[in-house]
């Protein structure tokens, strides 16, 4: 592990009391941040300082701090999940920053993700898109076929897994100039479309999910690919293409 060194930083952080009030940037100084600390641990220290000064700490979303739950967000120096690729904010470590640096921290900005407070946003639009069709309509009684009764080609299972690895953090939406959710929805559509179990209602699924996505106010995809670049789980644009194919063929069938 690298030698321990304390960083001194200036932080410009978005503060907003709630969804109804106007927000603004506030500037904070912080010192002696270990380069082995994570970015969120740095915010913990700042919050501890604020509480000790009798101020309100900064609200931000976080939970597993292992890069898997998808709860953490943050736009850091103009990038979703900050500098470095293939990671969530909780996996971003302070060794990525230089002593004396100024760091700008903002919430996800998208019409479909309203701010709750400070850096925390409401991503329940994703849940509503899922409830519209992000599932296989099978009962949970356990009275199903033996798991090996339907063989699945390894390549298909692997591809389905790659799509299923999406953590629903919303970085794709946050980083897209159109606020499009097509990488998220495309990943779910692809996962099920690639598996024999999911094929049966594939058409209904894609139609319902796309409709829900539009209703939630997400924008359209204009193929700039920023979502793929910022996705912490490497979800590929291929999934958007697959969703479009699925959607077109469902539309044709629907007549």
């Amino acid at each position: 592990m690298s030698a321990k060194k304390g960083l001194h930083l200036t932080l410009k952080i978005w503060r907003q009391k709630n969804n109804k009030s106007k927000g603004q940037f506030e500037t904070y100084k912080i010192s002696d941040v270990s380069t082995d600390s994570s970015f969120l641990e740095m915010l913990d220290i700042l919050n501890e300082n604020l509480i000790n000064e009798g101020k309100e700490p900064i609200a931000f979303d976080h939970d597993c701090r292992e890069g898997i739950c998808g709860m953490c967000s943050l736009y850091i120096n103009g990038r979703a999940h900050g500098p470095d690729t293939g990671i969530t904010t909780c996996q971003l470590h302070m060794r990525m920053f230089k002593d004396g640096e100024t760091i700008v921290i903002e919430p996800w900005r998208s019409a479909a993700f309203p701010v709750i407070k400070d850096l925390m946003v409401d991503r329940s639009a994703f849940d509503r898109v899922m409830a519209a069709g992000g599932f296989i309509s099978v009962n949970t009684s356990g009275n199903t076929l033996d798991a090996n009764a339907i063989p699945v080609p390894k390549e298909d299972a692997d591809k389905a897994m790659d799509a299923a690895a999406c953590i629903g953090c919303g970085a794709c939406v946050a980083t897209c100039k159109n606020g499009s959710a097509m990488l998220f929805v495309g990943a779910k559509v692809s996962q099920f479309a690639l598996l024999p179990q999911g094929r049966i209602e594939a058409k209904r699924r894609v139609l319902n999910m796309v409709q829900a996505m539009d209703e939630e106010g997400f924008g359209n995809c204009s193929n700039t690919g920023a979502c793929e670049v910022e996705c912490p789980k490497g979800i590929s644009l291929e999934n958007i293409a697959r969703m479009n194919r699925e959607y077109m063929s469902a539309l044709v069938d629907k007549g």
């Binding site: 592990m1 690298s2 501890e48 309100e56 709750i116 356990g142 199903t144």
Partner: protein, 670 residues
């Protein structure tokens, strides 16, 4: 008087569950929409239960503190889920899975529960595959398996290193389907703060909307607690930051007994602590032990030089490495159960052989170099590469490892800035899973009628220790296949009850209690943050109620926790107000509960004069450092009854554990 009736059905072990299902009362389909059920927590257990109950036709209200059920901490489980499918033809069976689990639990789990778990395990895999969970497959299109600590067959199903994620997303997708149909009303960003009991039955909860700050009353005919474990009592653990004991602790304070709180699993393969600014710990999947060899230097001077940065792991010669698990436990080697592996690491580090340059000098190596070369040779043969160079072997082996565990290696590198393909990983044990929890009977009902507890929040299936890949199994078994049957038996008496009003004095009183607490926290002019007290508690717990416990240490811990608790109520500072999002207020409620539970954990650990599983008493060990169990005096479940604010007054009830179908032996992995 003890209320501990385990209600284990009579008859032969293998017929108990079937027979019980055949004879339980049912709620007819046309009566199910007359019944409301509250589910608290939407991880593997709660999510699968909520989906299944809704599908059966009950009205379900589900609550989670996260912004979405998809973020429950079950999502972080990496390695896999066990099932007695015997797809590999290596002799696996329901009985063998049952036996391994009972033995792994150090004979402190219930036979009947564990057998049922093993029995339904095969169904779980079928169910999940039908839901579209992309498990790993082989080239013939069939499901692949790996093996895990504590067992000698390959029965673990996996989805890369993200099995928990995929199983949770499977349950979440089924839950989403029911939400979409309007059969589940989902309350995201809500926290249960109290249980409401009317006429002796659980009839609702008091919850706080974390976004608006509003305190809400919710009624139901039954309440299901699926709120997970309490590992965060240690402050540093592998649990998500928000994982808390509050729901389980609140029902304990309302009369549910809390069983075996001292049983905490310390997972052997976590990334070591980096320093005082650390907020939580990260696990490296146990599945890595299939391919990694654990060692520390044989010579203490080598360990010192490594810690000082003067020597690197790669320069230590093979004969100067102490593969201590292979040395001590030749039969299981690196695949001994978690408690054994954890204690062995502690033993080496306590003796001064730790390799990590942190405050406590604790850390051991998990080395993949042998496996990389071995797999490289296998690949070379397969690919007809004759006389491969070392570099070629390394590259081939590396891609094999990458395929199998790639995401874990990336994760490790992001956190530590070390490349584990080139240098061995550094690992050390950390608090992971809690086997103790709310006492439940065979129907998963607590000592409060109508209050059911499932998954990690209950105590029933793991005993004193949990084998790898068995937590996911229990969560889903309880939620999909056990609770939906047993809760019907209870609810069958409720079809004429009608909607439960939320205006009764019980609701009013419970709500007032919560509002008073909120007022107290926000108006207390203290000087220290909630985290300050949480860290003090965590420190006491890790040092004195951690991997090695002594009677003196535990007595000190009980006293010290009591003092921290008093200081907390006097001096805690919670900024902000009651309306709107207030994360410090959330933490204050949770830490208040941890402070009470922590004390009970120490009390439980002190009373249990034996070593078993995750509970290792240094005064009850053999000369070579192995755990010494006392089956004559302690073959029971210790369930505690709340008696008011002074935790020292809790009353112990015992449920004797009876083993009719297996011989209780000393657990040896040598």
């Amino acid at each position: 008087m003890s209320k501990l009736d385990s209600r284990i059905p009579a008859g032969p072990l293998k017929d108990k569950w079937k027979h019980h299902k055949d004879h339980m009362n049912l709620v007819a389909p046309n009566n199910r929409d007359k019944i409301d059920i509250i589910v608290v927590g939407t991880g593997l257990a709660g999510g699968s239960a909520a989906a299944t109950l809704a599908e059966q036709g009950y009205n379900v209200k589900a609550f989670c503190y996260q912004d979405s059920p998809r973020r429950a901490h079950s999502i972080a489980a990496q390695g896999g889920i066990n099932a007695a499918k015997n797809y590999q033809g290596d002799g696996d069976s329901t009985y063998r899975l049952f036996y391994d689990t009972i033995k792994g639990g150090d004979y402190r789990a219930r036979e009947a529960n564990v057998y049922r778990l093993a029995e339904v395990s095969a169904n779980i895999i079928d169910q999940c595959v039908s839901q579209g969970v992309p498990f790993g497959r082989d080239y013939g299109g069939q499901l692949d398996n790996r093996s895990f600590g504590g067992v000698q067959v390959k029965r673990t199903f996996y989805a890369k290193g993200q099995t928990g994620q995929q199983l949770l997303l499977g349950a979440y997708s089924s839950l989403s389907r029911q939400i979409g149909k309007g059969r589940v009303k989902m309350y995201n960003r809500h926290e249960m703060l109290d249980l409401v009991i009317v006429d002796g039955k659980a009839r609702g909860i008091i919850a706080r909307n974390l976004v608006t700050g509003e305190v809400e009353r919710h009624s139901a005919h039954a309440v299901v607690i699926a709120s997970g474990g309490y590992g965060n009592v240690y402050f540093l653990s592998t649990n998500a930051m928000g994982s808390n004991v509050s729901a389980a602790w609140k029902i304990h304070k309302k009369g549910a007994y809390f069983a075996n709180p001292c049983y905490v699993q310390i997972h052997p393969t976590c990334i070591p602590v980096h320093g005082t600014q650390q907020s939580k710990l990260t696990l490296m999947s146990e599945s890595l032990r299939n391919s990694g060899r654990i060692w520390v230097p044989k010579k203490i001077e080598d360990s010192i030089a490594i810690r000082e940065g003067k020597l690197r792991a790669e320069s230590i010669k093979e004969e100067d490495r102490d593969y201590y698990l292979e040395r001590r436990y030749p039969a299981f080697g690196n695949l001994v159960p978690r408690d054994v592996a954890s204690r062995a690491a502690k033993e080496r580090c306590d003796a001064g052989f730790g390799i990590e340059n942190n405050d406590t000098k604790e850390g051991v190596y998990l080395d993949f170099s042998t496996e990389i070369m071995k797999k490289g040779r296998e690949s070379a043969i397969e690919k007809h590469i004759h006389n491969p160079t070392d570099q070629q072997l390394y590259d081939l082996g590396k891609s094999w490892i990458e395929e199998k565990y790639g995401n874990l290696f990336v994760m490790y590198e992001k956190i530590t800035a070390d490349d584990p393909y080139k240098t061995p990983m550094k690992i050390y044990p950390a608090v992971h899973y809690t086997m103790g929890g709310v006492w439940v009977d065979y129907n998963l009902q607590s000592t409060i009628p109508g209050c059911f507890v499932i998954g990690e929040a209950n105590f029933s299936d793991h005993g004193a220790n949990r084998l790898g890949a068995s937590a996911l199994m229990q969560g889903l078994a309880d939620g999909y296949f056990v609770l939906p049957y047993t809760i019907a038996d209870y609810l069958s008496a409720d079809i004429r009850t009608g909607t439960i009003p939320t205006t009764s004095p019980s609701f009013e009183e419970a709500e007032k209690g919560i509002k008073d607490k909120i007022d107290f926290f926000l108006n207390n002019k203290g000087t220290h943050s909630v985290d300050h007290f949480h860290k003090l508690l965590g420190n006491i717990m890790w040092n004195k109620v951690g991997m090695g416990r002594t009677p003196e240490g535990l007595r000190e811990a009980i006293k010290e926790i009591d003092e921290v608790r008093k200081a907390f109520w006097k001096d805690v500072k919670v900024p902000g107000d009651a309306e709107g999002m207030n994360t410090e207020l959330e933490k204050a409620f949770r830490v208040a509960d941890f402070l009470e539970l922590g004390q009970l954990m120490a009390i439980d650990a002190l009373h249990r004069n034996e070593s078993c599983g995750g509970h290792f008493r240094e005064d009850h060990s053999t000369p070579d450092g192995e755990a010494e169990r006392d089956d004559v005096n302690f073959k029971y479940v210790g369930a505690w009854e709340y008696q008011g604010e002074d935790i020292n007054n809790e009353v112990l009830h015992k449920e004797d554990l009876i083993y009719d179908n297996i011989e209780v032996k000393t657990r040896s992995y040598k």
